[in-house]
Symmetry: C2
Subunit: 369 residues, 2 copies
């Protein structure tokens, strides 16, 4: 039995954030069916996979999910092994600061000594044992009082991620070095991204964390006192008939804020645990799938549908319609996505621009979202 | 009133060949819905337009249509102004030689002095008055005994057409010069096409003709005696209860042959009447539509469907599905055709290769044809 198949101590909890409504894989991802609900890589959805991959570390009763009302039912159906009360419902998305605050309060009610991992639900991770090993080390560092961020070793000068600059070495946890964080950098310009890659010592901010619940709540208290006051009200009402109404009241007054900007940038004892070689991807756009899915001899990835390709190379064909023939002739570097109501034909280098289309549809009050 | 709005003499007939099952506009054109039935340019189908454009020259009762059984009903519904008996039915397509022979026999029964124009049903002609003027001149030359072919002034070194080499000038008909034909050239290689264009004096074979019925039947008798014998049987059975069975019996033994190879290459008194400036197109592939349909400022042609294009240029988007959004990002020189069961994404320079796909589907016994 692998050492990582031993569950962590019983005050360790995983919180999976699954309320996102990302549209970067539109038209496949929709408001009603965001990326984490999609099964892109096998028959399991990305959310199911996010739960599966930590079941060796956390028993189901210590895995929590935070989501929004519209998605709760579908997620519960996708993962019935988690207790229903472990699905925490935000009345609406208000950024990761409030998500994490809500989860921290829920865990604090359960166990004042709780140590929580904050995990995404819509990332791809090729090396799952390596990921669990990393999480185990992060959990140990959290026990020592650090607010641990998982930093992804950059593979290119992405402008799509925030960056973390590492400082002095703090120590080693299970053969992994832990570093102080000098600063958090918001999504950079291309020039700044390239400068950071050239300089080295920067990591992509994965949005995954590990910390003691009372440590993160203390930072929220110090830096986001309004949120903290609301969380105190929620703590007090927890388990009463007023619980849901209290959350809704607090949430209606909340400004959206991320944990990075709201808390981490100004927090003490922040550390970064670098993750390299995990094969991690945020699956942030259609072109990211070219790195994650097997392709044929011509570099094509065909998912679903019947396809005939002549002189077709380095293209992704995704169809979720039955009885549909896709014919491609003389195309290269294209993404073709057919969801029945929408057809997307996009150069893969421009697949980020799908967001502009989604924004335009929203502004025009159109359907297809 | 324009002179060309006067009907030709009452022994002039038009025969519109409408039995083709071309697949070059696949997946829009299908076996059950060939190109001539499609409405690509306005609300009228190409067949309807082919009839419309000669109604100033021929009254409906002197316009005949030759088609195959599978298409007859639809064509009759599309053009109810023609008498039902003017729709001649081939049991199956056997090439233009037999089509023309069948029509010639039908006209000979009606009028031994008949002079017939042979016209296509799936061509685009921008200058319709000019076309009628040309036809009028060709009809006059036919009256003088010539087998008149309409030669299209080539606009590029196409390998998709047969060519006609002109010889000495015969004379002038209504300000148009008529030339002897030196030879017919089958669809040439690229090098040969370029040589002909450079040399000059060659025309594309439009497949449109004008001649006296007894002249063309005499050439069939001389050069295709088997076909002629069959046509004689059909002539004898015409109007009797045995008519249909006779046609079917003759047709079942016919080899497919074109009028060009079967008759015209070896015929006497063949003449070519050059047509220039008509804006003629055989609409032989998707890319031909770029010359025929109006495009927007980015060179895009969008037909049907709702389209959002970012960085999209010189592309054709054709959709005949309701409630369907097409999004294109970063594409150029593409043809996107969505017929519901089939999606084609094709570089416009390769749109001829649609034929290879159709052939493959046929060989594999697939649907979608």
């Amino acid at each position: 039995m692998n050492i990582w198949q031993v569950n962590m101590d019983n005050n360790y909890y995983a919180v999976i954030m699954a309320g996102g409504s990302g549209t970067r894989l539109w038209p496949l991802s929709r408001q009603s069916r965001p990326k984490q609900m999609l099964a892109l890589f096998d028959e399991r959805s990305m959310f199911q996979t996010a739960v599966d991959r930590v079941l060796d570390l956390f028993p189901p009763e210590r895995i929590f999910v935070v989501t929004i009302q519209e998605q709760a039912h579908e997620l519960q159906e996708q993962c019935t092994e988690l207790p229903p009360e472990n699905y925490l419902i935000e009345p609406a998305g208000r950024g990761t600061a409030s998500v994490i605050g809500l989860a921290a309060v829920a865990l604090q009610r359960r166990d004042p000594q709780a140590i929580m991992a904050v995990l995404g639900s819509d990332h791809f991770i090729a090396d799952e044992p390596g990921f669990r090993q990393l999480l185990h080390a992060a959990g140990t560092a959290a026990q020592d009082g650090y607010l641990v961020t998982l930093g992804i070793q950059p593979t290119f000068a992405s402008t799509g991620f925030g960056y973390i600059e590492k400082g002095a070495q703090i120590g080693a946890y299970e053969d992994r070095l832990l570093f102080q964080v000098t600063r958090f950098i918001e999504k950079p310009s291309q020039a700044n991204a390239e400068a950071m890659i050239a300089e080295g010592g920067y990591y992509w901010n994965s949005g995954m964390f590990f910390w003691q619940v009372d440590r993160i709540l203390a930072e929220i208290q110090r830096q986001m006192p309004d949120l903290y006051a609301g969380l105190q009200d929620i703590y007090a009402a927890w388990g009463t008939s007023q619980a849901q109404a209290t959350v809704e009241r607090i949430w209606s007054a909340l400004q959206a804020q991320t944990i990075d900007y709201g808390v981490m940038e100004g927090a003490r004892n922040v550390a970064v645990l670098p993750a390299a070689g995990l094969g991690w991807s945020d699956v942030g756009s259609w072109d990211s799938l070219f790195d994650l899915l097997p392709s044929d001899d011509n570099g094509n990835i065909v998912m679903g549908g019947e396809h005939i390709g002549l002189k077709t190379a380095h293209s992704l064909i995704f169809v979720n319609q039955p009885r549909r023939l896709i014919v491609t002739i003389g195309i290269e570097d294209l993404v073709v996505v057919d969801t029945g109501d929408v057809l997307l034909v996009c150069h893969k280098d421009l697949s980020q621009e799908v967001r502009l289309v989604v924004r335009q549809l929203k502004e025009q009050g159109k359907e297809y979202l």
